[in-house]
Symmetry: C2
């Protein structure tokens, strides 16, 4: 039984220019951490912020977490989709969203703690719990409301059943590891020489994909740095460019074709994350160059619209931004229906998502593309994700690998 619940405001200063991008220039990586203590296990769930306002997410999470006291985690997870919907539809709190902003981040934190506790209770890593669930049991953890035009319960069940087909042939990934990519080569504030050096190091460490931050006020700077990365990394490495919403639509329409010369694998967050039709216009104009988006997309309904417009070549849903593991899985189902790869943004530094992409591959049949790797908070996790020779080693400890030291 869940006996106590608590929410902690955990903030970690970063060294130097790490974490900087065109819009977030002084991040303090922070978590609103929900902890659910039940008999011999404690579930930990994270939502990610950049510092200021983390306390608001904590306060909101406490409202949801309080409702769990006295409940058995197995009972909670047997009807988690309903519970999640009740939280999101809290008659007063809902006004602050719905399904977005602080209340949605809070939902992520509490939801993720539930999934963590569930896996710990069962004594298995989260990826294994998810893979071993029956399609019906997994369906019961989801809130599919407002997706009735695209993903009914019946549709979801069919996708889950179909996803299991051929799973045996995909199991070797548990031994070989899930491919990672290095986000840290080209933070926005890094000087050219540091970017060059980081690229060399990433290639030497075995990464076959890496990311550069663009979105400068000076398009020539973006183009120069992008070509620099391509030159150092070579033709075979996948290079992703991330504009962090810094372009207007007319700017994006002008610069993307120029950046296309260095053959980026994708261009990420070109403009405002709410501008669904703007992304559609851009995607159509720059095809076959592809867009990646989702870091700031708050919920399944907006993702549904992005998929319906065909503007997203890659979906970067983040389980510490949307309503937690449950909504991440829902969005992954939608993506499967549309044949669009899921490549999460990792506000969790990959700790939780290493489990989720394994499930997406093994349980839904999503391609095992690669998972972003951000090492900056490694020392703070009890079980830090291990990336070796460019791959995430499969986590073996029970739970979702989100426990933090010193909480």
């Amino acid at each position: 039984m869940i006996r106590t619940t608590s929410v902690h405001d955990a903030r970690y200063a970063l060294d130097g220019q790490a974490g900087s991008d065109a819009i977030h220039r002084d991040p303090v990586y922070s978590y609103a951490v929900t902890r659910l203590s039940a008999d011999s296990h404690t579930g930990t769930g994270l939502a990610f912020t950049l510092g200021a306002g983390n306390e608001l997410v904590c306060a909101a999470a406490a409202r949801y977490a309080d409702t769990l006291r006295g409940l058995e985690i197995e009972d909670v997870m047997a009807r988690f989709g309903q519970i999640s919907r009740q939280w999101a539809d809290d008659p007063q709190f809902r006004w602050l969203g719905p399904h977005k902003g602080v209340v949605q981040l809070a939902l992520a934190s509490v939801t993720n703690a539930c999934f963590d506790l569930w896996a710990k209770k069962r004594g298995v890593p989260l990826w294994k719990l998810l893979v071993d669930l029956s399609p019906e049991a997994l369906l019961h953890t989801l809130d599919l409301s407002y997706l009735e035009d695209e993903l009914t319960e019946k549709d979801a069940l069919a996708l889950l059943e179909k996803g299991r087909i051929g799973r045996e042939s995909r199991l070797p990934i548990l031994q070989s590891g899930y491919p990672g990519y290095d986000t840290s080569v080209g933070w926005f504030n890094y000087p050219d020489e540091q970017v060059r050096e980081n690229c060399r190091r990433a290639v030497a460490e075995g990464f076959t994909a890496m990311k550069l931050k663009v979105g400068s006020a000076d398009p020539e700077r973006d183009i120069r740095r992008a070509e620099l990365v391509r030159e150092v990394a070579g033709a075979d490495v996948r290079v992703m460019l991330d504009a962090n919403q810094q372009w207007t639509l007319p700017q994006a329409l002008a610069i993307c074709p120029k950046l296309g010369n260095m053959q980026p694998y994708w261009i990420e967050e070109p403009t405002h994350p709410d501008d669904i039709l703007g992304h559609q216009t851009l995607a159509e104009a720059i095809a076959p160059l592809k867009l990646a988006l989702g870091e700031h997309v708050p919920n399944r309904i907006v993702f549904k619209n992005y998929l319906q417009t065909g503007s997203a070549g890659f979906i970067q849903v983040d389980a510490v931004r949307v309503g937690g593991v449950s909504e991440f899985l829902t969005v992954s189902l939608l993506c499967k229906k549309y044949g669009v790869p899921v490549v999460p943004h990792v506000g969790d530094m990959g700790q939780l998502h290493q489990h989720l992409v394994l499930f997406n591959h093994l349980g839904l049949g999503h391609e095992a593309l690669f998972l972003e790797h951000i090492p900056h908070l490694k020392k703070h996790f009890v079980h830090p994700a291990t990336v070796r020779d460019g791959v995430y080693l499969t986590p073996q400890e029970p739970g979702s690998s989100c426990d933090l030291k010193d909480l």
Copy 2:
């Protein structure tokens, strides 16, 4: 000079079933109230919530308000568009949005206090301040970022200049009053007999438009109540039906044509406010029946998308939901470009919006359709809006009529 800033958490319990709708069943009408004290005037700005979480909006608003201390309000308003953008792009806080949820409500509260102080400093009601501003001065209060594909500064200026044409012929509305409509006839929890009685009273009071809450789990209840209102109100009264997001898209597609039999003036918030493409599908299916939406739409970018899809017959932008008066005006300009009427939702009970619709009519040439009237908090305002014979009497006191008693 702005010497002190403060934010207050003001909550007002409602009587009985007032304020209830299909999703918000127990509202406590609440304001995050920003106060800016400068020499001999105090500016008051509101953001509206339904109770829980109002304290989160207050905390977020304090972060923005703090930056105003020591500044002259005339200097602030001369470059308010820039300041607003800086607040919305706060490198850490932005993560909690962007431009949505708690941080956006906070932006509304502080922005509205700035406009109120500005009007008080000039000794005029806000509507008059706005009407008397030059197009350039008004433009400087706006943040048009992420609208570059639809509304450049040049476009906005042209609309503002064009909007002034024929203003003389519209001035009589200041004497005759702006038409109101009664939202309070059919709250969700009211029994049929009370709805019937309220309709009779509203017609007797001179209202020519009124609203009924629908979105019941039982479509027959909705149809019965809608026909009841039409029967009591007669054929000439405009009746609006408000579903408060309670339908799935397939449900909306099924029930809207049936409700169409009683000839509603619009159907409001049929489904989730983020589902831009869902609204497009519905609008196309039920034309010429029209949709009204915007109560929960957080910013200009989402409104831009709604206008681009052609799904909104009426835009219900609310200045205590979007980033305040400034973004309300921006959205009104967008609507003018698209020829779509602005009929605000009034989280402020009409106090602030009575000024804004007068400006929209006199300054932009928007049709003077009608403004929602919600009387429940009348006794708490220093200068309550006065609705007589179905029209809002033009406010004459300096400022935006948002001062609350007992703060």
